[in-house]
Symmetry: C2
Subunit: 342 residues, 2 copies
């Protein structure tokens, strides 16, 4: 990974989170204070000015670009794009297209962010389908990247092959691992196990100059056996949401178990601390959102429930994405040029 010697400029859709614009404004301030990037906050000028003023952000390098509308969570993606020409989301994407920002982040409606990024920025040369990559922690403390998690419900083996290449380049740039382990999500480790798509994809991945470790199973996403896992967007999205569901249910059971058995004050305090540690280690916000790989620009999509820390980390990741020349490498690889991999 190159050092981010030049400060990158990241546009932040300030109206994306459920609690907008608080987390966005606070996350932007944190990012600028830690010199992770320059930030452009996009949203209603008066509201953002007030929020910045309240947080004593004077003197920080935060620009505000006005956008009069916001896309809501319930809006259909395509409709939101067409109807709201002056949405904070669309203005943020436009800043990237016009070269006024090196990348943008949004915690808004994932479908709308993807559609806006794809239409406004377009795909990189050689990329058939951009893919959304989820990043989460494993029990070994490593990061696990799964793609696609929802940009493409139906995929061809050639699509999955491109996802492998893009995911691997991203992992190298952001996590500084030289030869990340790439796996294909399937239902058994043997090459012949899986559906038609997986079997055909396996044959293609074997031929790539990647550290392809073969098929991996659902549990491998979390146990540190693999770094980059490739799946069609339907399977990837279902797996991601099921995983969140299990985590929510288990947290609830745990909370009940602790609160019903620990009546003594000491027990309650100890349990609170354990729960906090538990939440902290399982906290996805450290990873700063999901990159949309393959578009002409940098786009990081955050969870609607992102807090300021998650926004800050997404800004950091967007800056590292730009500094790591991820897109240049993807394009070089997939446009089939002969000067090979770096």
């Amino acid at each position: 990974m190159e050092p981010a010697s030049i400060m990158r400029r990241i546009a932040v859709d300030a109206m994306g989170t459920d609690a907008a614009p608080g987390p966005e404004v606070e996350g932007a301030i944190l990012a600028v204070r830690e010199r992770l990037a320059e930030v452009v906050l996009v949203g209603p000028q008066d509201v953002l000015g007030r929020e910045l003023g309240r947080r004593e952000a004077r003197g920080l390098d935060i620009e505000v670009v006005h956008a009069s509308e916001a896309v809501t969570m319930s809006e259909a993606a395509a409709k939101a794009f067409r109807r709201k020409r002056d949405s904070s989301l669309r203005v943020a994407a436009r800043l990237v297209r016009e070269g006024k920002a090196d990348g943008f982040i949004s915690a808004g409606n994932t479908g709308a962010v993807m559609a806006t990024a794809k239409i406004t920025l377009g795909a990189l040369e050689g990329v058939e389908r951009p893919a959304l990559a989820a990043v989460f922690p494993t029990s070994k403390g490593t990061a696990s990247v799964l793609l696609d998690v929802g940009a493409n419900a139906d995929c061809s083996p050639a699509n999955l092959e491109q996802f492998a290449v893009m995911g691997e380049i991203y992992y190298r740039a952001i996590f500084g691992v030289k030869r990340p382990r790439v796996g294909l999500l399937s239902i058994g480790q043997e090459a012949h196990k899986g559906n038609d798509l997986a079997r055909q994809t396996h044959l293609r991945l074997k031929k790539l100059p990647l550290n392809f470790i073969g098929n991996v199973e659902g549990r491998d996403l979390y146990n540190g056996r693999v770094d980059v896992t490739v799946a069609d967007g339907f399977t990837g999205n279902v797996v991601l949401k099921a995983s969140e569901g299990v985590a929510e249910v288990l947290s609830g059971i745990l909370r009940d178990a602790l609160s019903s058995t620990l009546s003594a004050k000491v027990g309650y305090v100890l349990a609170r601390k354990a729960l906090r540690d538990f939440k902290k280690r399982a906290d996805y916000s450290e990873y700063g959102g999901a990159p949309l790989l393959g578009v002409r620009g940098v786009c990081i999509i955050c969870h609607g429930r992102s807090n300021a820390n998650a926004i800050k980390n997404a800004i950091r990741v967007a800056a590292e994405f730009a500094a790591g020349c991820v897109n240049e490498k993807i394009q070089r690889e997939l446009a089939g040029a002969s000067w090979g991999r770096t």
Copy 2:
């Protein structure tokens, strides 16, 4: 559900679990003591005789049928079937085909059990593809059934339609719910969301006389919003294994958090109790294994790590499956007869 007034006779492959035959023998004794079923234990006569003798099972209605071989976890399914004609698995399935048992259970290699059941028993009339159904608890305390979880990696909309019918009949029979909520696993609740398979299946399910609640997402499997969820076997299997992976990782994190922060003896004891409660509520063994739906007979597949309680519950479920005339109802429904649903 009919009362199990006639005692059903269930064959138990005694060589399936990782700790075989201990859990099988003990589970059989529990089941017979609780008058859940008559049991036929299948495996090496001398070993099983010794195990039964040690547990003072004299006088209990447990028959032993000899089988000289056992299928191992690492054997390929088809090969295991062909080569080991006298395996405990194959002998147990044969007892069902010959009418000497009403059903069989096995905690062996899932692929081998499915292959053996499909070849030995055959499919029910009208059933294109048997499907494996996983059963697990939700945060609301209800049971959630997901099928297929691995019998068919590639599925057609017509296959998924049959899975919905079979799963619904099973749920009614085993859980006594009159109109179970049936959902289609997809990546958004709207009918148009999903891959081609999901969209086409949605249109078919809407026309069935089922309580179809539409598309459901991964997290709904665990939050009690749906009773029977339909998916292709690739997606179903990946989701199931990812869920197990998340649960394992979170349990580990929790164990670490509690052991590192609770140094006082009181804390340790309280934490132990909380962890036990937590494990108990998340314990899948209460649900007694996964039924293979659509074969001519009753076949319940248990986890290789099943304990005696899980084996006992699988025997109970197999007996209820037979008593509930699940197969007769499936056949009536799918063979397209006109006397309709009961």
